[in-house]
Symmetry: C2
Subunit: 721 residues, 2 copies
């Protein structure tokens, strides 16, 4: 049932080392750190050499893109000609946006969006077309670079997770036979299960690289993948390697050779200098934050859902419309970023001697339209990189830097820009917008409770980010650990845990997590870990639908070819009849791909007889291996003469003789748990009583979908409401 019609062939990356690649990705993704080292350096001065950015004497030995991305359009250098400044700013943004949009719209539409829903769906067992294809991989990397550089309210973390999964997929396809680059050991990944394990590790590596959070990566895989205990060790090993490679690169880059890479060291938003002390009012504030995060989060998800539905109408009209949409959103984003700071009041600079204020070019205190000795706090948020804006918000040293009206304006803008940006043809992570918006309202709540609370406002900001993450994404343990690894403040862990629990619980009352919604919107048959309540009142036999196509152990070629042509089934039960066994019995299951290989080899015989297992010796082990995406045989590749159509073929050598079976009277809820926990693709339903055909039907993922079951039994739906 899994469509795999992708025909991209650029998959000769067999010499790619997974972890090196991860680090490259991290490198690319970091190019959007445009400016403002000072804040960061002042924040991390006490941390010793490890975390001090050593990039003052930046040399341009990175790629040209990096240089452009690193320092695009310093506004203040235009001598306060605001219109010219706006033009330059908007032009740069527009150019990058068009490149990103065009890459995405024309080359790989599957690269748009976060990528996490697609990876989640893959790990759930859905092999949707081209989501892990090499073209998607390529566009995801470069599209993400240009998208982030264009100033969109998007993150790079989601795309990095997707990139990790793509790399794993390329590796799992085992190099390229075309260029003679096939390694023998890669044959281990030539089956569904091991390839899925590899891609799980790839996704974990992506998380580990994106957030520099190796344990978070393991937990992300755990929360999202159909879990097997063997995965724990494998993902742990993978993310350990990511951590080591990342650490080596960062250490190497201390000498300032790598442009902006390595900024921030292993801990991206360090707040460990602030000791988290809190009292009763802080707990109250945290509960408020959790509730607010849950409400905002579920509302965010609802709006993203609406916007995606509208966008999908526009996107369907063709690539040029997609690029047009990107241009429109880019214009809106630019106008907000340049226009809204005018609304902010100018703030006098702090009087401490060691702070440069206002800063020109780089720095935390943007002057914008303000007179000398003053700075514009809203400009400091809008006209900064996302990472630095987050660091500003989480910062525990600056208490009153941001005025509440500025924070409110920034929150509303980021909240809605985030919603309208997701869905355009640009690789767009959701983490950064969500952390930004959450961080802002966390800071606002912190300011409101300031008189009562003993907790630092910066830590409130972090808790706000946690609450909004919990409210939108509904992951708990992995977000908790990722935040811990991002901020290195272990003492805050209890509060982060409460806030996540509350925001997730509140938001779950309204709708599903944002990734679940996107998966559902894309029509991917995502199988939940738990069964729907009404499934307890149905049995496995009830969910079986449609005509069952079975083969005999030795079957006529014509029957097989006809079945392959007329159905889209991927698995066919094989039933042995009286010549082979006494009574009809279920012999096993054959897969479409294996049937095609067998047909292609044309070991047909004129009569209905067993050929024996010797026939397998005529195949090499690779013949039945799972092919790379789009590489498999199709029925059109095989030409069979009319004479051959009348001949017989023995299916026994390729039968999976141990298919998972359930009795037709098995509770459907239990059958789904079985299907999901073991990560199956087909499940045979066998009759309870004797004297009937030995198989009642075949259950696939689609048969467990609520739409399918409620379609078969509309009375359940009417009963439900």
């Amino acid at each position: 049932m899994d469509p795999s019609n992708n025909h991209h062939r650029r998959m000769d990356s067999s010499d790619v080392n997974c972890n090196d690649e991860e680090t490259d990705v991290e490198n690319f993704g970091d190019l959007d750190d445009k400016e403002d080292e000072r804040l960061w350096s002042s924040m991390s001065e006490r941390n010793g050499s490890m975390r001090i950015p050593l990039l003052r004497k930046r040399t341009n030995n990175t790629s040209q893109i990096a240089v452009i991305g690193a320092k695009s359009c310093p506004i203040e250098s235009l001598d306060y000609d605001y219109f010219k400044a706006f033009l330059a700013f908007a032009g740069c943004n527009m150019l990058f946006a068009i490149i990103a949009g065009a890459l995405c719209a024309y080359i790989a539409p599957a690269a748009a969006g976060s990528g996490i829903p697609e990876v989640k769906a893959y790990l759930n067992g859905i092999d949707a077309p081209s989501i892990l294809a090499p073209s998607t991989f390529f566009v995801k990397i470069f599209g993400s670079i240009f998208g982030v550089s264009a100033g969109f309210v998007v993150g790079k973390e989601g795309p990095m997770v997707h990139t990790g999964a793509c790399i794993a997929n390329l590796l799992g396809q085992g190099g390229s036979r075309k260029y003679g680059l096939t390694w023998n050991w890669l044959r281990y990944f030539k089956n569904d299960r091991d390839r899925r394990d590899l891609i799980t590790c790839g996704a974990a590596a992506g998380v580990a690289a994106a957030f520099r959070a190796p344990v978070g990566g393991v937990l992300f895989a755990l929360e999202e993948a159909a879990w097997r205990s063997a995965l724990l060790w494998r993902t742990f090993f993978t993310t350990a390697m990511v951590a080591i490679v990342l650490r080596s690169f960062i250490q190497y880059c201390w000498t300032g050779k790598c442009g902006l890479f390595g900024k921030g060291g292993l801990i991206m938003y360090d707040v460990s200098n602030e000791v988290a002390t809190y009292g009763g009012y802080d707990i109250l504030a945290v509960i408020v934050l959790g509730v607010v995060g849950g409400v905002f989060g579920s509302f965010y998800n609802a709006l993203v859902d609406k916007v995606l539905r509208i966008y999908s109408i526009i996107n369907e009209k063709g690539p040029s419309f997609r690029v047009l949409l990107v241009i429109v959103i880019s214009s809106i984003t630019t106008c907000c970023a340049f226009g809204l700071p005018w609304l902010a009041k100018c703030t006098p600079c702090p009087i401490e001697s060691n702070v440069k204020c206002p800063t020109s070019g780089e720095g935390n205190y943007k002057r914008f339209q303000c007179p000398d000795g003053h700075y514009n706090d809203l400009a400091s948020l809008f006209l900064n990189t996302n990472d630095d804006a987050i660091r500003n918000l989480f910062s525990t040293t600056i208490i009153r830097e941001f005025q509440i009206p500025s924070l409110l304006i920034f929150f509303v803008t980021i909240y809605f820009l985030g919603i309208i940006t997701y869905g355009i043809a640009v690789p767009a992570g959701l983490f950064i917008p969500v952390i930004l918006a959450g961080g802002v309202y966390g800071r606002i709540v912190g300011r409101l409770f300031q008189s009562l609370s003993v907790l630092d406002t910066g830590l409130f900001s972090l808790l706000g980010a946690a609450s909004f993450l919990g409210g939108t994404m509904r992951m708990t343990v992995s977000i908790c650990v990722i935040l811990l690894e991002l901020t290195n403040n272990l003492l805050l862990l209890p509060l982060v845990m409460i806030v996540l629990l509350i925001s997730k619980t509140v938001a779950d009352c309204f709708n599903h997590g944002v990734y679940d919604q996107i998966v559902k919107l894309k029509g991917l048959p995502f199988l939940e870990a738990h069964a729907e309540p009404y499934m307890r009142h149905l049995v496995a036999g009830d969910a079986v639908s449609g005509p069952l196509v079975t083969f005999s152990g030795v079957e006529k070629v014509e029957t097989i070819v006809h079945a392959l042509q007329s159905t889209g089934h991927n698995g066919f039960p094989v039933i042995d009849g009286p010549p082979v066994s006494e009574s009809p019995e279920l012999c096993g299951l054959v897969l479409r791909s294996h049937l095609l290989v067998l047909l292609k080899a044309k070991y047909f015989s004129g009569e209905r007889r067993l050929s024996g297992r010797d026939i397998l010796k005529k195949f090499s082990p690779f013949d039945f291996a799972k092919p790379g995406t789009g590489k498999g045989l199709s029925l059109d590749d095989i030409s069979i003469t009319d004479e051959e159509m009348e001949m017989y073929i023995d299916l026994h050598p390729i039968i999976n003789a141990s298919p998972y079976t359930v009795l037709e009277t098995m509770s459907l809820a239990k059958a789904q748990i079985l299907f999901r926990q073991l990560g199956l693709r087909h499940m045979c339903v066998v009759p309870k009583s004797q004297g009937r055909p030995p198989i009642v039907g075949l259950l696939t993922r689609h048969d467990f979908m609520p739409e399918h079951i409620l379609g078969l039994y509309p009375q359940i739906k009417s009963h439900k409401h």
Copy 2:
């Protein structure tokens, strides 16, 4: 099959709040911190008020035990009369040892040892008798307090995990009906699955409380339990609550009201002040550490196994022999602790003015036999609490405090004392001895590499502890996170990950993890997550053995009573015959406990007819609920007359009509994965071909044990070697 013959009835703890209880446990466990606040305070001074111990003005409002435990036998106060000092020291130790040993030997032998193997077995699905009984719970707490106070080389972490599981079990039994304390909501735990989930949460809470590591608790449960995705959220919630309660207690205890509880704040062995910088030689040292840890760890496990086998012979002779063994080991431990420091050379005190040296009573620099102005470094390790010894070893500020000969002596002693102590009748955690021994050789390796390395010796000590933990316990992710939460040094994470990977890999070449060994030694049928390789060549039908006892849907009472008497089976397949269905068909599975309830109610009828589901209305929902340990009905409770024996009973109302089934030709390896992943107790093997009885056999946990299969097929074994 699960024996549950325990008859302890002290389970009326229905008003126990799980998390408060956890914290109490933590409180008890901490009473062994006898002395030496100064080091800790100097270590944590820069951490602000949160981590500073505020216990200087200790008031004695804790229990008497706490007072005894807190300050037993200050040696220096005896005016250097070493023999008297030894007598006092040995006397105190012996007294505590005898109390702990007697509690354990006479009241609850199941409370001896770590408790983690038992919890692990329970989570795997083995309900061994009395491992979670209230008496075990009681002895585990007090035995652990006295055992640790007696100076044994044992930890309190394992017992705390066991305690957590015991509390969850008490809660899961739903209070006490005897005292009218049954709450309605506790009925949710009256089934196997939910009770196991609850106990998983209890174990997670135990880890969270023992190490003050909430995320570590979740991961521990994940690594040890038969995992269901619903558990993630539940364990996370539990450990979040533990963290919050723990944090509140610690905050409350700032005022010094709680004796020694709260010492160290939320982070027990804080090394976050040391920035982890490392180069190539450090990586080399870390690899060496990993290999050493793997070798030492597997050797440790092998010796523990040998010692446990010898001890089991002694322990079987009776409780008094157990106490005798405790006395012998206590004497050896005391002699080592008091005798070995004489071998150490006296070290001149450091000249820094702010260090008090030598210290009298409490403090890091024990004078022991040394002249004034000198201290004995070995005495500082031996005659200190375990927690403080670990803090000393991990300490990054003291570089040359410990001489290599002293470290070597301490390592050898702790290594072998740890081995001979585990297995005596005292609750004995393995974490602390392993962390101590690992920390010592880590420091030694750090000293050896000192000229080449840039990493701090204290951090080497931490890595040594990680390597030894990996080598003995073979857990990866949970140990990694627990160490992170214990030490709060995120930058060291990559190194900890490498060292764990290497030590586990090396040690796995030699034997199994220490907990697995103990489980196996206890004869508990632990089911591995992976199948043995030879199982791939067997089918499910091959593992079926022994006579299959089946019932008809409406069965004669005598048949049922006879079957219950003559077999120990817990599940019986029910087959409906011609009057009810056309051909014999598998109707489902009945459980022994449900059969007993049905027999007791005596709804018999004179003829073979269906009674209908109305009969269930005559039972209350609680009648079929899983009873507490030892509370279930037994056949002796039911008296059935000869007349009744001839009557019939309709089993349909109590049949589980959706048993999990596999075809007899299913690969045994696949069947095991199914059995384990879904956490089953019974699996029906159904025939492939028709015209045979509708069930071939019933597979239980025991049928998957290698011993059982290799017993059936000795040729596999001979083939294997």
